[in-house]
Amino acid sequence: MAERSITLEVFRYRPDKEQEPTFQSYTVPYREDWVVLDALNYLKDQVDGSLSYRWSCRMGVCGSCGMMVNGTPRLTCAAFLKDYYPGPVRVEPLANFPVERDLIVNLDDFMQKLKSVKPWIVRDQEQPISEGEYRQSPAELANYKQFSMCINCMLCYAACPVYGLEPEFLGPAAIALAHRYNLDSRDQGQSLRKDVVFGHEAIWQCTFVSECSVVCPKDVDPAGAIQQEKVAGALDLVKSVLMPWGSR
């Protein structure tokens, strides 16, 4: 049986050589169980070593290999060639991020936003280690568990038209992470996150397009997290109006 093949149209950008990006067409062998990442690795190993992209675990947990595949943000380690056959398959860097080189985008904005929501346990009083673990019931764990599953792959930012049009938007993953900590029974830091999360560049910029939750490979449901924070934000506003003397 003749070996089947499939064409990849890959976005190339070599800032050392060119001002504008181009697309390069490659033909790779088609294998039933290959994912797009396997095809890219084949290209880099055998055809064109200058193709640059990020990857590592190839099992959908490290979040490195997010790219646009036929216009949809996907983890290329989880995008099977057989779902695109006979192709061609267009591979581009994640949308809404500046492109550094080929399929590699600049993540500085996200990293800064991640830090800005104070994604750590905040407590007035730390319990000493000698007293053991904080008690947390399975129900309390279930409250925030879903929102702790984010692998920081940023497919949600690539899918969000608000982030694309207004880059100061805090964005789905960052807000979902803030929500994860706000819901954690051990955390007491909700008021510390308010300025950022209830700010005008955060939850109130979201128009509930929901595409972020559609593309999330880990079912974090950032859209749900943002709307739930909006409820919290609205209640907070009502409280501050009705009881302005209350502690913030």
């Binding site: 050392d16 216009g71 399975p138 409250n143 049009l165 397009v209 859209a223 749900g224």
Partner: protein, 127 residues
């Protein structure tokens, strides 16, 4: 060595069906507002007396205005249904470790809507 910023086209919302449906959902609010204003105008004519009101109704029996009313109804329905279906994402109720099924959050919204509509229909139709 500068990063390259890809421009976003003004027709971004035509590139995906989910984006298009989102835009239509948002646009339904224009119809809802328009119909509300129309209704207030209609009420103000009602306040001016039977003659003025009858004239108003005759003017607005044309095909164009009926089409507007139908479109506004469809838009309002789409607006309400998408909203009700999204409520389980916003209101999360837990029983122990499990979330209660989304149907039990959206369901009461639909039920309340039907109940109120039934009451209004009864008031309007019995006269």
């Amino acid at each position: 060595m500068k990063p390259y910023n890809r421009p976003i086209s003004a027709s971004w919302w035509l590139s995906k069906s989910s984006y298009l449906l989102f835009m239509l959902r948002e646009l339904t609010s224009i119809f809802v507002w328009a119909f509300l204003i129309y209704y207030l105008v209609q009420l103000s004519h009602l306040a001016k007396g039977t003659e003025k009101y009858t004239a108003f109704l005759e003017r607005h029996a044309s095909f164009g205005w009926i089409l507007f009313a139908v479109l506004a109804l469809v838009a309002a329905l789409y607006h309400s249904i998408t909203w009700f279906n999204l409520t389980p994402k916003v209101l999360v109720v837990r029983k122990g470790e499990e979330k209660i099924p989304p149907a039990l959050i959206a369901g009461p919204h639909y039920a309340a809507w039907l109940a109120i509509s039934a009451v209004i229909a009864w008031i309007v139709l019995r006269s």
